[in-house]
Each structure stands twice: as structure tokens, then as C-alpha cells.
């Protein structure tokens, strides 16, 4: 965990493009909020590995969003239930259900559908917001942050030594 946090701080303070970090957050949102063992997460993993997405940010954010998922799951279930039961969509779902490939996606599971819908809806806002925040951090807060007593104290700690060691790699 410390290792991961150190890497994340290193990335925040590095020259890594804010877009790569933001994309990691956005992809992590999908993996974290939706059930892990699912077909769409394999696709996400493909994109995470092939695109220059910041992996440390991705894994850390995945852990973070997994925790958030415990709070969001009941709402995901409600949305999934609502959508799957919507009379107007019954024909669509029934048609989709005839496809085995579609059933592999487990679209007919209320939690799966609801969480995917939430994650996809939040994908672009999270991408843009996190990119903006990284940029704001680097311009306005990075220097101030490093001058903080707490940060000074932290720099003397074991945590910081790990951070330093990683930074030198």
C-alpha cells in the first residue's frame, strides 16, 4: 500500500501527462464499481495495458473505487432493476438475451447492469475532472504542499525513503 502510495505521489509530481493519470482514474472507476470477474473488465484491462494509462494510478484508484462500490451497489442494483424491468425495454432485453455472447456480459444481472451504467455515465466527468485536478495540483499546490511541516516530517520518515528510492529508479 505504501509502495503504491509512494508511486502515486511520484506520478503526481512527475512529468507524466495528466491525461494518462486521468484516464487511469476513469478506467479504474469501471473496474472498481462493477463486479470484478466480468467480461467487460477484460476489455478494460486490454485498454489499460495497451494505452499509456498510468498503471499505479489505475490500481490505486481501482482499490479506492472498489471501496466506494460498497456504498454505490444498492443504487446500482436499483438502476439495474429499473432498466431491466422497464416495459419499453423488454423487447430489447429479450432480443439481447437470445445472444449467448450478450449473456456472457451478464447484462441481465441488476448489479452488473446498474454499475456499468453508473461507471459509463461517470467515465467522461471523472476523466475531465481528474485531469483538471492533477493540473491544478501541479501548478498551484505542489510547491506549497512540499513546504508543509507535515510533508517535511513525512520526508524524514520511512515512507519518504521508499518514495525517494523509487524516484531514483
Amino acid at each position: 500500500m505504501l509502495d503504491m502510495l509512494a508511486k502515486f505521489l511520484k506520478i503526481l509530481n512527475s512529468d507524466a501527462a495528466p491525461g494518462q493519470i486521468a484516464l487511469a482514474f476513469a478506467f479504474a472507476l469501471i473496474v472498481g464499481l462493477t463486479p470484478f470477474f466480468s467480461f467487460h473488465n477484460l476489455i478494460v484491462l486490454f485498454f489499460v495495458l495497451v494505452l499509456r494509462v498510468n498503471l499505479s494510478a489505475f490500481f490505486l484508484a481501482s482499490a479506492f473505487f472498489t471501496l466506494i462500490a460498497y456504498l454505490v451497489d444498492p443504487f446500482s442494483v436499483m438502476i439495474g432493476e429499473y432498466l431491466l424491468m422497464m416495459p419499453e425495454l423488454q423487447t430489447f432485453w429479450t432480443d439481447l438475451y437470445q445472444s449467448e455472447l450478450a449473456r456472457v456480459s451478464q447484462f441481465n444481472h441488476t448489479l452488473m447492469l446498474g454499475s456499468v451504467v453508473i461507471a459509463l455515465a461517470a467515465f467522461i466527468p471523472v476523466l475531465l475532472l481528474s485531469r483538471k485536478l492533477v493540473m491544478v495540483y501541479r501548478i498551484q499546490f505542489m510547491a506549497w504542499f512540499e513546504k508543509l511541516r507535515v510533508v517535511q516530517w513525512v520526508k524524514a520518515s520511512r515512507f519518504y525513503k521508499i518514495y525517494e528510492a523509487l524516484a531514483e529508479e
Binding site: E81, T94, E100, H109
Partner: protein, 645 residues
């Protein structure tokens, strides 16, 4: 764009995917082999050996080689062995964890092959529950077999040897709970109790000698003059004592009378029951030990029941091995239960109408042929799954054989329907020609030397309840017997004249112990032969039974009439005794004052009488003197008159 692509990442993804596929190909096979062997062994209770399991990618499938399923009852024999099984597995459902096998092709299927090693599983101490269940199942099976064989034996012997068909009357009386014995014992017990009570009560009452003594004493007391007041007192004391004794004796007599009356009443009641008991016993035993139509009407059952029972048991064993495999998988049910546990948090699957359902495991078609010593059989099974409700289709089975052993054109259709909660399995068997040779029949040493049989049977099992209806048409039947008994000869003679007959069988009730019935046109033809013999035998048996029961009743009752007379006499004696004592006790004793008074009165009376007597004497003297004086005067007058003349 180039700065957004991470080529090593793409390689990494390909490597990860490649590793997964390699794992699928190399590791999954051995893992499946282990799983199949373990699950198979558990299901059949004997070793299931598999030489290899390989996975194929194009088409996606499983190839299983060298399957040997050992026979739990005979570990050195295989129930079935399969050289090669190829399963054509649907790929996409596999990603959902669903094993959909489009077709399972089996080759080299053989039954009852020998094994090189024992197929027995290592002995594990079974849990108490499992052991109990097994013991109960075994006991039930044994019991069914035992009951069937005992019944067959009993019925067979009934006809085989009429003399031994019924137990002896003594045996019947010894083995049956009889009312005669029950009431006899009660009567005897009651008699003994009351006898003791009556004897005791009679011993307390005075006898004739005592009564005579009482009378003598009483006379001595109440008769004679009191000499003095002391004499009176003494007598009075004795009189009171005697009266006290009378009271005691009267109470004793009353007690004895009551004891006799109660005894008589109860013994009479018990006697009525005892007297009626032999008739009641007789009616009950007559029905039970009967050689009437209920006893041997079912001759066809006797003849063919044993053979049919053997076939039925074999079929039952096969069915009981197959049926559980189609039962719903508990694990799947548990998963479903868990799914439904908290759908508000964990979500749930919403299912839509589809013509492509996906159960956990579904073998759509299995077909194979097997060459056996008796002949070739072709087996085709469709829709093997433990979730028939999901696929909405039952498992169907078709077994065909053009020639199998002595049978020709066998066709067995089976439908095992578990779609509803109530499992329904239906079977339909047709055998065009079954050649019977030297078939031992169930009685009189009879053999069906040869016959041709056409069999049609329909059966269903609904929730463990069997309903079976079958018909066998025998033609060109030839019988023989080596027995020389009268029954055997009569039977053989009768059967010689019957070359063709129909045998109908039905079985209804619990699978392990159904009520089996046979009927045939043979029954009517053969029954007439036995009817007269049976009637005579039954009559003799019933007569003897009746006599024995009466004998037994009398043994308990003893000389009841004598006893009653004795009690009657005793009752009469008690009445006489009571009367006598009452008479004696009514006698009074005069008081001393009364005696004085009486004596005074007597003295006064005496004096008065004396006075009267003296008065009378005086009056008579006076009368006599007057008479004499009158006579003197008359004489003097006469003399004077004489003197005058």
C-alpha cells in the same frame, strides 16, 4: 497517437491471454480428470477410472479416453467401460461456466467387462446417518425380497402339498392370540379369587352343630325358674352374649351371601364371554387360514411371480442408480438460494424468454451401440441435465435391440420428467418375441419347457410411487413336471391342454414394496381342478379348529355347571342359616320382677281357686243337706199321709 500506445502492454496482454489458453489446454484436462473420477466414484460407490481427459480448441470440446466404472457389488467387474468419449462443448456458454454438450459420442461401450484391479473404494467409516440410511435401505430391500420369496414359497407350498398347506390346528392355536385363551384365563383367575373369598366367608358362619349348641344354650337360659336374682343376672349375661354371637353370625352369613352373589354375578359375566370366545376365534381364524379363492386364486402369480420379481428387482436397481443423477444439484440450488438472499445489495439475474436456455450442465444427446455376448444394443439418451426446468424438456431414453439373448425386437422408451416438483418417470417396453426355454415355475416342480412370449408393459414412477401394467402373451407353450404328487399331475394335465394364454401383471405402490398382482386366463382354467380338493381340506381344518377351540374353552371353564350348583346350594344354605339364627335371636328372656309378679298372680289365682272350690264344696254340702232335709220331710209327709189312711 504513438505516445498513447504502449506496445509492451499489448505484448503483456497477449502473454496473459496466451498463458490462460495454455493453462486451459494443459492444466484443465488433468483437473477435469480428477474431478470426474472423484465425483463419479462418489456417485456410483465404486472406482471410476479415466485414462485421460484432453481439451480441444477447434471445435471446443473434451475427449475422454479409457473410462471404467467399477461395479460396487462386484469390484473386479466394470458396470460399464467406454473406450472413447468425445464431447462437443459449446464455447460461449463455457465462459459463463455452463457445460452445454451438443453431442456426446461414445465408442467402445461394453458392460460387465473384467477389471485388472479391484474397483472397491477404500473403506471409510460411514457417518451414523449415512450408515443408518444404508442399513434402512438394505433392510427394506431385504425385507421386500424376503417377503416376496416367503410369500411365493408359502403360496407354492399351499398348492404343492395340500396336506402341508395349512398349519395344524395346534400350531394355529399356539401362534394366534385367541379370545378363548384370554377370556379363559380371566375366568380362571376370577374363579380362583372368588372361590377363596367365598370359602373364607363360609368358614366364618356357624355350622349345624354350632346352631344346635346355640339352641340348647338358649333353652337353658330362657326356660326354668330363676332361683334368685343372681341366677337371673347370670342367665341374662349368657343371653346377651348369645345375642351378640347371633349378630356376628348374621353379619358373617350376610357377608358370605354377598360373596356368593358377587362371585356368581362375575363368573356368569365371564362365562358368557368365555362361552362366546371359541365362535369368535373360529370366525377370525377361518378367514385367516383359508384355502378359499383368496388363498390360491392367483395361480398365475404363483407360476410366474418369482421370475417376474427377479426381473423387476434388476430393473429397479438400474433405475435407482440412474434416477439420482437427474435430481436437482444441491450446490446449484444453494447458489440460487444465495442469489436470492439479498438481491437489494448483491443484485439478481433477470431471465427472459429464450429458446436457448443455459443450465449448468446439459448433454443434449448421447448415442452409442454396444456389442455384448447376448447381442447388440443401441442406446440413445437425450437431454441429460439436472435442471430440466431450465431447458423445459425431460430426459428421454431409447434402447433398441434386434436380437438380445432369447428376445427379439426389444424397444424400451423412457421419459424421466423432472420439470415439475413432482418427478414423473415413464417407461414403455415392447418385446416382440421372447423365447422361453426350460423356465422353472413356482410350484409343483413345473417347467415351462418352451414358449414364445410377446411382452408389452407400461410403467410410471411418480414421486417414488410405482404404477406398472404389463401383458405377456404366451403361445406354443409346453409344460412338464417331474413331481409325482396329485397336484403336480393334475396341473400338468391341465396345462397340456392350454398352449396359449395371457398373463397380466400390475404393480402399484411404493417403489420398493409395491402391491403386485397377476391375473391370467390360466387362473380360471386351473382353479376348477383344485376347488374340490380345497373345499374338503378346508372343511376338515375348520371342523378340527372348532373342536379344539371348544376343548380349550372347557379346559378353562372346568365343571362350570357343577360350580354354579355348588354356589347355589351354598346360597340356599346361607338363607336357611340366616332364618334359623333370626328365629333364635327373636326369643326373649323374662325378667326377675316379671317372674315375681307372675308368681304372685299365680298364688292369687290359686287362692281364689281354693276359695271358689271351698265355696263350691260348701254350696254342694248345703244343697245336699237341703236335699236330705227335703227327702226327710217328704218321707215324714208320706209317713204321716200313710198314717192318716
Amino acid at each position: 497517437m504513438k505516445q498513447w500506445i504502449r506496445w509492451p502492454g499489448l505484448i503483456g496482454f497477449i502473454v496473459v491471454a496466451g498463458l490462460l489458453v495454455a493453462g486451459w489446454l494443459f492444466a484443465a484436462g488433468p483437473l477435469m480428470k480428477m474431478a470426474l473420477e472423484s465425483a463419479g466414484s462418489k456417485a456410483v460407490g465404486a472406482k471410476v477410472d479415466i485414462a485421460s481427459v484432453d481439451l480441444t480448441l477447434n471445435p471446443v470440446g473434451v475427449v475422454i479416453q479409457g473410462v471404467q466404472v467399477a461395479d460396487a457389488k462386484s469390484p473386479m467387474t466394470n458396470v460399464v467401460s467406454i473406450e472413447r468419449a468425445v464431447a462437443d462443448v459449446a464455447f460461449v456458454p463455457l465462459l459463463l461456466g455452463k457445460g452445454i454438450v451438443e453431442e456426446l459420442s461414445l465408442s467402445g461401450v461394453a458392460f460387465g467387462t473384467a477389471r485388472s484391479t479391484s474397483g472397491a473404494l477404500p473403506v471409510e467409516a460411514p457417518s451414523e446417518e449415512v450408515a443408518e440410511e444404508k442399513a434402512a435401505a438394505q433392510a427394506s430391500a431385504d425385507e421386500t425380497q424376503e417377503v416376496a420369496s416367503k410369500k411365493a414359497e408359502a403360496e407354492s407350498s399351499a398348492l404343492d402339498n395340500m396336506a402341508q398347506a395349512l398349519p395344524s390346528t395346534d400350531e394355529v392355536l399356539a401362534r394366534e392370540p385367541l379370545k378363548t385363551v384370554e377370556h379363559g384365563k380371566a375366568f380362571k383367575q376370577s374363579y380362583q379369587t372368588h372361590r377363596a373369598e367365598i370359602d373364607q366367608a363360609i368358614a366364618n358362619v356357624p355350622n349345624a352343630q354350632a346352631l344346635k349348641q346355640y339352641e340348647t344354650r338358649l333353652n337353658a337360659i330362657i326356660n326354668g325358674r330363676f332361683e334368685s336374682i343372681e341366677d337371673f343376672k347370670q342367665r341374662k349375661k349368657e343371653f346377651d352374649e348369645l345375642n351378640k354371637q347371633f349378630k356376628q353370625d348374621k353379619a358373617a352369613v350376610a357377608a358370605a351371601k354377598k360373596a356368593i352373589s358377587v362371585g356368581k354375578k362375575e363368573l356368569n359375566e365371564k362365562w358368557k364371554l368365555l362361552k362366546d370366545a371359541p365362535e369368535s376365534d373360529y370366525e377370525q381364524l377361518k378367514g385367516k387360514y383359508s384355502l378359499d379363492n383368496q388363498g390360491i386364486a392367483n395361480l398365475s402369480g404363483l407360476l410366474f411371480g418369482g421370475e417376474s420379481a427377479q426381473y423387476a428387482l434388476q430393473a429397479l436397481e438400474i433405475y435407482e442408480k440412474i434416477a439420482p443423477l437427474l435430481a436437482s444439484d444441491e450446490t446449484a440450488e444453494e447458489e440460487l438460494a444465495e442469489e436470492d438472499k439479498d438481491p437489494a445489495v448483491h443484485g439478481r439475474y433477470v431471465h427472459f424468454k429464450t429458446d436457448r436456455p443455459l443450465p449448468n450442465l446439459w448433454i443434449k444427446k448421447v448415442a452409442f451401440t454396444s456389442t455384448m455376448d447376448q447381442g447388440d444394443i443401441a442406446v440413445s439418451v437425450n437431454n441429460i441435465t439436472d435442471q430440466q426446468d431450465v431447458i423445459a424438456k425431460p430426459t428421454t431414453l431409447v434402447i433398441r435391440s434386434a436380437s438380445f439373448g432369447a428376445a427379439q425386437n426389444i424397444l424400451l422408451n423412457g421419459v424421466m420428467d423432472r420439470r415439475q416438483k413432482q418427478a414423473v418417470d415413464r417407461f414403455d417396453l415392447q418385446v416382440d418375441n421372447y423365447r422361453v426355454k426350460k423356465m422353472d415355475l413356482g410350484m409343483a416342480g413345473l417347467k415351462l419347457d418352451s414358449s414364445q412370449v410377446a411382452i408389452n408393459a407400461k410403467g410410471s414412477i411418480t414421486d417414488g410411487q410405482l404404477s406398472l401394467d404389463g401383458r405377456a402373451q404366451f403361445t406354443q407353450a409346453k409344460f412338464s413336471t417331474k413331481d409325482r404328487t396329485l397336484v403336480a399331475k393334475e396341473l400338468n394335465n391341465a396345462l397340456t391342454k392350454i398352449p396359449s394364454f395371457d398373463l397380466n401383471a400390475d404393480a402399484n405402490g411404493p417403489l420398493r414394496s409395491p402391491k403386485v398382482g397377476f391375473n391370467s386366463d390360466l387362473d380360471e382354467k386351473l382353479q376348477a381342478i383344485f376347488n374340490q380338493v380345497i373345499k374338503d381340506k378346508q372343511k376338515a381344518f375348520e371342523k378340527e379348529l372348532k373342536a379344539k377351540l371348544k376343548e380349550q374353552m372347557l379346559a378353562y371353564a372346568g365343571d362350570y355347571q357343577g360350580l354354579l350348583k355348588e354356589l347355589g346350594v351354598a346360597d340356599g344354605d346361607m338363607s336357611k342359616l340366616d332364618k334359623k339364627i333370626t328365629e333364635l335371636s327373636r326369643k326373649k328372656m323374662a325378667s326377675f320382677e316379671d317372674q315375681k309378679k307372675r308368681e304372685a298372680q299365680e298364688a292369687a289365682k290359686k287362692k281364689e281357686a281354693e276359695l271358689k272350690r271351698k265355696q263350691k264344696e260348701k254350696e254342694e254340702e248345703l244343697k245336699r243337706q237341703q236335699k236330705e232335709k227335703q227327702k226327710e220331710l217328704e218321707k215324714q209327709a208320706k209317713d204321716k199321709l200313710k198314717n192318716l189312711f
